[in-house]
């Protein structure tokens, strides 16, 4: 039975060399050469500074920006390491609330957020946390609920803001797959009229 030791060790070594080193490195170098934007994390650069990733949501709180969904992420309190504090859209981590459908904490949180959106018939994505805590998108309905607030803060006509929202609303692929959505960071960049360039590694 010891005769099996050599194939076992050799095959582990070969698998590691092939699938653990050669292929990942090949993908890394070829990816960065051919598809640098995607391979590097779809980073958006403005005036030479990385302002975020097109795929990762950000924590918007001021009235002049559209807001993303609530994020369930928490981190260590910098002032007191024994406590945790909310760290919405902190992309050095990821995760969900994991609150049960019958959780009182969930209902209390949602009831508070529902008020901010008018109190009834609120689109579900506006008051629920995503799976990743980094969801870059909201539904067109949730965007529409924020148009008046953003227009007022920017002294713009609501119709003009809605037009920008519409231009950044993506439909289902082939009219079938996925859901209608608005990328919040891209929408807010468009509102700011920013010039966007692609990050180079």
């Amino acid at each position: 039975m010891l005769s099996h030791l050599r194939p076992a060790i050799v095959l582990i070594a070969l698998s590691t060399a092939l699938t653990g080193v050669a292929f990942p490195l090949l993908f890394t170098y070829a990816g960065n050469a051919i598809l640098p934007f995607q391979a590097g994390g779809s980073l958006i650069v403005q005036n030479g500074r990385v302002i975020g990733s097109a795929l990762i949501g950000q924590n918007f709180t001021s009235d002049r920006y559209f807001h993303g969904r609530p994020s369930a992420l928490t981190g260590t309190d910098p002032k007191d390491p024994s406590k945790t504090v909310p760290t919405p859209y902190d992309a050095s981590e990821s995760g969900a609330s994991n609150l049960a459908p019958t959780s009182k904490a969930l209902l209390d949180r949602v009831a508070g957020d529902v008020k901010a959106y008018g109190g009834h018939d609120v689109p579900a994505d506006a008051v629920t946390t995503s799976g990743s805590g980094l969801d870059p998108q909201i539904s067109p309905e949730t965007a529409a609920l924020q148009v008046a607030r953003v227009a007022k803060a920017r002294h713009m006509a609501a119709a003009d803001v809605q037009k920008i929202v519409d231009a950044h609303t993506e439909g289902r692929y082939f009219g079938l797959l996925g859901e209608p959505r608005v990328n919040v960071l891209e929408l807010n960049l468009a509102l700011d009229g920013s010039r966007v360039s692609v990050a180079k590694e």
Binding site: A8, F27, A100, A124
Partner: protein
Amino acid sequence: MTWNGSAQIALVLTLVFVSAFPVGRYMAVVFEGRRTWLSPALAPVERGFYALAGVDPQRGMGWKEYAFALILINALHFLLLYAILRLQYYLPWNPQGIAGMSPRLAFNTGASFVTNTNWQAYSPESQISYGAQMLGLTVHNYLSAATGIAAGVAVVRAFAAGGLRTLGNFWADLTRCTLYLLLPIGTVAAILLLVSGVPETLAAYAQASPLDGGSQTIALGPVAFQEAIKELGTNGGGFFNANAAHPFENPTALSNVLENWLLLLIPFSLAIMLGHMVREPKQGRALFAVMAVLLTLGVFGAYAAEAGGNPLLAHAGVSPAMGNMEGKEVRFGVALSSLFNVSATGTSTGAVDSFTDSYLPLGGLVPMFLMQLGEATPGGVGSGLYTIVVFALLSVFVAGLMVGRTPEYLGKKVQAREIKLAMLAVLILTLFILCGASLSLSLPSGLSSLANAGPHGLSEMLYGWTSATENNGSAMAGLSADTPLLDYGLGAAMIFGRFAFMIPVLAIAGSLAAKPKLPPSAGTFPTTGALFVGLMIGVILILGGLQFMPADALGPLAEHFAMLAGKTY
């Protein structure tokens, strides 16, 4: 439920079902050692592997030798991963300076990846370096998948002819599976994922200056290549904590469809492969039908529950139109999310693109119940195939009892020894799940791991033990799993669930292989056609149901009725 949602689900399932036929045929060619269209490029590589390893691919192994070789390489590979995780601080590609893992978490993670479970008791962003992801986890994704498929193929060979003394050469099966099946599909899929936005970089985490002020650190890594095999090999361990809900693992609905297709492809193809290897494609199609019916029912069951939304939230003023969106991503919506999570628990993948802990009680019951059915609908790569063969043996036995015929399956007489081993394999896992979950729920250290109160807390613990023992790896992720009790307990459950099932099944295969292959006679109960498919579905549901319904009634079912009554915890 909407027409659009149902159509999305139907489209993805159809894509899987259609592609399983050519892939299953191709796999039969690969594992019979015949030439494939990739041979001109890969045969020299394959010969090189054998030369270096000192392997004669033609030399067959009896079931004991096959099992020994399989356990040996897995044991060595487990030790290597344990070492990598403990020492990752000193290994290359660690730009974040991530420290070595604690011994108990490294044990749990090692057990998790060597058994194809890929349970995550750790947070990858802060606890696993790029180097450990590549050298450790990616390699295990490949090898544990190939191990499972090899065992499945060995079981099929037992039915291919009469009077066999061997089940094939384990080293050759492992090598051919990796080179001809996993690497080619994995590579093409990784390219598509990269194009859709999945990163592949060794650069440190990006520092961003968000529009609305503050700062944002963005975790990156060599994700695309690992993501592809994570789904294709029904592994399921996420590069990131949020698994396939993370936009970097799964950026669009299209990448989601691709990943969903990948994780279902090989388990369904293996049923078709069985048909070709026993020279009776109908037999493979019957097993395929059993898998397809149960999975489809599960998907639509979960989708129906989730699409209805949470009545408690509706009462608070949330529109039910989008369904239950807590823990789900906007780009996937309720339909693709339900499909993904049910696919990943019907197989032993355990990846998630939405968080099961926040599913409605019945929506979360479906993934748990599919695991409790024994991971055969369609199950993990290889493990699903040998599990459904066990159910086929039990079904012919039950049919034989009912109509007084000698039980035979694929021309092999099924006798007391095989049925005893099959029942042992099935019951031993149930025992482990129910005892583990009950024990953890009676210990203060187990109860302190629960994130939610009430019946949902019981669901979390039951789900965890089910997932680990059945080698699935998905979680009701609120459960704090990095505790001494659960690190060691669930780690042991994963190893036990993998090998205490696989070895009796290989023993069955060894015993059946030696028997003569009987031609079908008038007394043979046909194992193709709707009658047998229906019988098998009945056996699987009744066996799983009888074993787990009492426990499930205390968790998800109790929570469902509490929710309808407006009760919260």
